[in-house]
């Protein structure tokens, strides 16, 4: 009987997570378009449904009814498996994210490690898709994405390691639990106990690398539509493209959730007398996502060497200093 309940619980979470990921992917497109419009003082989608709210539905139906075109000369297996390979890790990463105090599919001890492990796989999905579609734009995009992800995974992991040293746990639920009791307990500022004074900078680094890892502007080399047609997705049509797109947006949600959990206290409330709940988590997560959209419509795409220079000359040295400083801080205090 207990076995069954566990099974049902997992099944419910599976359905819930996939629904959450798909819904977010659909409505993030809406947020993106509305955001873009208002940053340029336009209106954005408004025709389909009130405030254009049914637009994602219309887009989805359109994508689903289109022919699943497999061009000549592509690797048929790799071409088809790539979108799924991009989406699945993103959905898997949701498993360990604590949305609320008791709202996590699995409370994994090495949750942080698991998310990083899955985050690395989605690059493989892009590479396989680009290679499989045998298109020069796609292959250039894939080469860019690989070097970008290698360059940015290092500072991301370095800041994460510094954070793990300060919290002493890789369990996301525990990291959030430690940040309870108000705004000033969050890892972002952490005035109460030992953490390197560089933590706000670590937050900035982590946020930057998160943008790069999710291939968001100004680091959107994977798509770079003005230079590479549609980058890795050039040969994809219909729902193949749709799944890629969903994977991209699911990755953004995972990234934003990770920032929320690690630096902004997850589901903890900003004021000590208010109870923590899933509402806080979602509010923080969507604020981060809004910032991501905000950044996209503020900065132009960087050049590729500038992107690598930023990582190797700025982010990695500073995150190393942060790591050493955190170690020293923990030893002294």
């Amino acid at each position: 009987m207990t076995m069954n309940i566990e099974l049902i619980r997992l099944l419910a979470f599976l359905v819930g997570i996939i629904a959450f990921a798909a819904l977010n992917a659909a409505y993030l497109v809406w947020v993106e378009r509305k955001g873009a419009a208002h940053f340029q003082r336009r209106i954005g989608p408004k025709e389909v449904g009130p405030y254009g709210l049914l637009q994602p539905l219309a887009d989805g139906v359109k994508l689903m009814t289109k022919q699943l075109l497999v061009p000549d000369g592509v690797d048929p297996l790799l071409f088809k498996v790539a979108p799924i390979l991009l989406l699945v890790p993103a959905v898997m990463s949701f498993v360990t994210i604590p949305f609320g105090e008791h709202l996590a599919a699995r409370n994994v001890d090495l949750g942080l490690l698991m998310i990083f492990a899955f985050a690395s796989i989605n690059v493989l999905g892009l590479l396989i898709g680009a290679w499989g579609s045998a298109n020069k734009y796609a292959i250039i995009a894939a080469a860019r994405v690989i070097s970008q992800n290698i360059a940015y995974e290092i500072p991301m992991l370095l800041t994460a390691i510094a954070l793990v040293m300060a919290t002493g746990s890789m369990n996301l639920n525990e990291i959030v639990a430690q940040q309870g009791g108000g705004l000033w307990h969050w890892n972002l500022i952490r005035l109460t106990y030992a953490a390197s004074p560089l933590t706000p900078i670590a937050f900035l680094i982590f946020f930057t690398t998160m943008l790069a890892e999710t291939n968001r502007a100004p680091f959107d080399m994977a798509e770079a539509e003005s230079e590479l047609v549609a980058g890795a997705f050039t040969e994809y049509a219909g729902m193949g493209f749709g799944v890629f797109f969903m994977g991209e947006y699911a990755n953004i949600v995972v990234g934003a959730s990770l920032v929320t959990v690690l630096f902004l206290g997850g589901w903890q409330s900003p004021l000590p007398f208010l109870p923590g709940s899933v509402v806080w988590f979602l509010a923080k997560m969507y604020a981060i996502i809004f910032t991501v959209v905000w950044i996209r419509w503020t900065y132009p795409r960087t050049q590729f060497y500038a992107l690598l220079n930023l990582s190797w000359k700025v982010l990695i040295p500073i995150s190393l200093v942060n790591l050493v400083l955190t170690a020293g801080w923990l030893k002294v205090f």
Partner: protein
């Protein structure tokens, strides 16, 4: 040291940029939903010409001198009038503007001594045939009443 100053000023400039865009974000939108809403035309806008009404008689101010017809370099204006019993001067019976040839130069408006023609503010001009753009301005003036 230059490394750090550059780093600092660079980071600062990023936040300045974000500040600018968020200010634009909260400002009201400037899009005009054109067919559904229109904005009033500026006073200097030069649409096709139209006849000006005489406030006393209610009819056109035109005295049928034919100066506009002569002034028009494209020959798109045709004016005709007749003598009527008990009325001083001529009475306008026809004022036709072939807008397909008009270049909106304004020579006609300039040449008109009594100020009987003026630029209209019409800009919603689209039609299926050329014939739709040979305007009978006298009829238009009467319809506008």
């Amino acid at each position: 040291m230059a490394y750090f100053t550059e780093l600092f000023s660079g980071t600062k400039s990023l936040f300045v940029g974000l500040g600018i865009t968020i200010r634009e974000f909260v400002k009201p939108v400037v899009t005009v939903q054109y067919p559904r809403e229109t904005i009033p035309m500026t006073p200097r806008y030069r649409g096709h010409i139209e006849l000006v009404r005489d406030p006393e008689s209610g009819g056109p101010k035109c005295i049928v001198c034919g100066m506009c017809q002569k002034a028009c370099p494209s020959g798109c204006i045709t004016v005709d009038g007749e003598k009527r019993e008990g009325v001083k001067g001529k009475v306008l019976t026809l004022y036709r503007l072939d807008f397909t040839k008009c270049s909106l130069c304004g020579m006609c408006v300039e040449s008109c001594k009594p100020g009987a023609i003026d630029f209209s503010k019409d800009y919603n001009l689209a039609g299926p045939s050329r014939a739709a753009y040979v305007f009978d301005l006298l009829k238009r003036l009467e319809e506008k009443r």
